[in-house]
Symmetry: C2
Subunit: 427 residues, 2 copies
């Protein structure tokens, strides 16, 4: 073999090899299962591993024609996505052992394209606050981040080449940052949410976790139907706007140092880099996001609050109480604030193809400290912009560091292409 072990290849590289029959889906699944057997007792990234079903499906795929663009690729499915053949507990004891009768639309689309559902990955409680058991694969004393904890840890640990994430605040970008993988939150609305437990209709976004930008582009192309996403060629070095965000004071020294290095690295590679000052109204967007999410989550989880309140986590109960007490006029004013900020985005992206900004304050916190602060993603999620975490450095504790690339409204293709240009040059 002149390639890394199969379980360490990226999804797009694997897809090419599988479609050319350079290697068998069965061997890819075996490699992933061996890695899971080795590391899962410590890492605890999975709520369910469908060993036999996955191997049977791999054998079918190896014996038949190429099924689709994800032929033979093992897939980790965050446990807020329904699966007809695997239990789905949404990270909550309320749903322990719950067996949906249908796949989420996204799960079905991946299976149709030839992906092999390897299992369900750990999510925080309803993709919110209460952490699951998953540890950071780089140092088990630290959190993998949340809420897509298991998906990011499993991809980082070589257990699976790609996985589903979902983001309402920072649930793709932050765990991707803490685990050192590529995380892609598409533009709001790009991927169908049917069959994914809903928290906030204005914010919930489905996305992808992988090792390289081309991996998440591949998965998103399948899910969105936008095949253009897979063409990551670019005819000019991107214009990059460095964005220190309205929350710069809370950014850790290692992240500040990283951002200081970026202009030199990128300019030597041919990119133009400018400092971006956000418009004044943007300072309030993080708080607007907090309020909108509380208002909507408080209502979305009504059944759970009314019939199982004692089984809800304390933090989530607090957010729900706050959301129920919030006057509708305040919520509506925050939606207006977001709409006004969206109206300023054309200006913001006039001279920049992508912004680079912190994905999180710094390295992953200790496990006991929770899954980290979503603050650095809240404004971008509220604006509905495409965001891609680029992992390319290590912090003082040896844990992964990186930055997120943020694109213009609905410019997912240009954002992925710019990210694919940037990542190797930052590494």
């Amino acid at each position: 073999m002149n390639h890394p072990p199969l379980n360490e290849l990226g999804a797009a590289a694997l897809a090419r090899g599988l479609q050319q029959r350079d290697f068998r889906a069965t061997d890819v699944v075996y490699a992933c299962l061996e890695r899971i057997a080795e590391l899962e007792p410590q890492l605890q990234a999975w709520t369910h591993v469908a060993k036999d079903t996955a191997l049977n499906r791999a054998r079918q795929l190896d014996a038949g024609a190429v099924q689709g663009m994800l032929h033979g690729l093992p897939l980790g499915i965050k446990d807020v996505f329904d699966t007809w053949d695997m239990p789905t507990a949404y990270g909550s004891p309320i749903y322990a052992g719950h067996q949906p009768c249908a796949d989420a639309a996204t799960v079905a689309l991946c299976r149709e394209a030839g992906a092999i559902a390897l299992g369900k990955t750990v999510t925080t409680e309803f993709a919110t606050f209460q952490a699951g058991p998953t540890r950071n694969p780089h140092n088990h004393a630290h959190t993998p981040g949340g809420s897509s904890s298991g998906s990011c840890a499993a991809v980082a640990a070589g257990m699976v080449p790609m996985a589903f994430g979902s983001q309402t605040a920072a649930s793709i970008i932050r765990p991707a940052a803490y685990c050192g993988v590529v995380g892609y939150k598409p533009s709001f609305g790009a991927i169908a949410r049917t069959g994914v437990k809903g928290l906030s209709d204005s914010l919930d976004t489905i996305g992808a976790i992988g090792r390289e930008v081309e991996d998440v582009a591949l998965l998103a192309a399948c899910l969105s139907g936008n095949q253009q996403l897979m063409d990551l060629s670019i005819d000019h070095a991107p214009r990059v706007g460095l964005c220190r965000t309205a929350q710069w004071d809370g950014v850790a020294a290692e992240t500040k140092a990283l951002l200081a290095m970026v202009p030199g690295m990128l300019e030597r590679a041919g990119a133009t880099v400018t400092d971006i000052d956000l418009p004044a109204g943007f300072d309030d967007l993080a708080q607007a996001h907090i309020d909108i999410m509380a208002y909507e989550t408080a209502r979305a989880l009504s059944d759970e609050r009314l019939r199982h309140e004692e089984q809800l986590g304390v933090t989530l109960r607090g957010v729900i109480a706050r959301g129920l007490e919030m006057p509708h006029a305040h919520y509506a004013a925050q939606l207006d604030r977001a709409a006004r900020a969206r109206g300023q985005l054309a200006d913001l992206f006039r001279d920049a193809d992508v912004l680079l900004a912190p994905s999180a304050a710094g390295e992953a916190p200790l496990f006991e400290e929770g899954t980290g602060d979503p603050l650095y993603c809240r404004p971008w999620t509220l604006l509905g912009l495409p965001c891609i975490h680029l992992p390319f450095a290590r912090g003082p504790r040896g844990l992964p560091l990186g930055l997120q690339a943020i694109g213009a409204p609905h410019a997912d293709h240009a954002t992925l292409a710019a990210a694919a240009w940037l990542l190797p040059r930052l590494r």
Copy 2:
């Protein structure tokens, strides 16, 4: 009794009487159940009637304190809304006998506010095309419209004072028009969709069916948390824009005659009425809606297509096939078209508080002809505007006629208040 039979009162009037203990929830439920027993064999508006549970709940409510703003009000629940204690089949044989383990968020919120879940009402297949068995209560040879067929028929027939609807194209407004009840499709995003079967993330909207504008305002206030919706007082007669729409050629003579009468009626009552010409780009919005819905529905129903295709209706299969074949660039262009039209709405509503436009071409078609054409609602749904069907006339076949009032973006309160002013003056 100096009021109509309890099963014929509107929800808001009932709510007042129930909260003042003028009558008992038990008697309201009995009145509804008697009406159901009498008419359901012919009308077939329900997939499930929770007779014993509803009566038990009514007795509890009568014996205890006032529970909330919907205290003691029987509620019909469209069978695309999950209910933990009643089967939920989404109008599809695929889900025959399916028992969800949780309530939709909206169902839970109503129960908390004291509503009594009387049962599940017939929906077309996944709220799309294939009709259920429900007949038009005014003439059983005709369709009640779809997809909220059972909800509108049940309210019109005096079986229940209020019911849930949902609209992706015309699924609240059109059956409300055919059945002669008030149907309210709120602004896009106003009410949480968790636990309602998703068809199209960009379009799906939850709404309310009742007898009077105050009835749907009451239900929407509970669901959205916007208590202001219940104050329907208005300090000036509304400025009304008459909108003949881009589809005027297909409008039936009875609806054209109705629209011709409106200016005189409303001007005599003190309103100003002007003719509204839609901007040029609006002509294409109905087709843009068709394409966006096809693209998104094709993906949202992936599990059903892949595992149960033979159980999908022929028309739905055709729409799904079209959505899967549609290039992503075409879909994205339609979303852009809608976004540009939304940018013109401030101008459109500069001189009008509400528009009045056809809810449907004319009276309800014959049962065998299907549930009617959603064309007259597609543009407004795509724009996300609040829409309220006002029933106030009869057509040449004796079937209900009316018009829809359409409000400015997020102006749900002003739209409801204008509608409450208009309806008695049009009647």
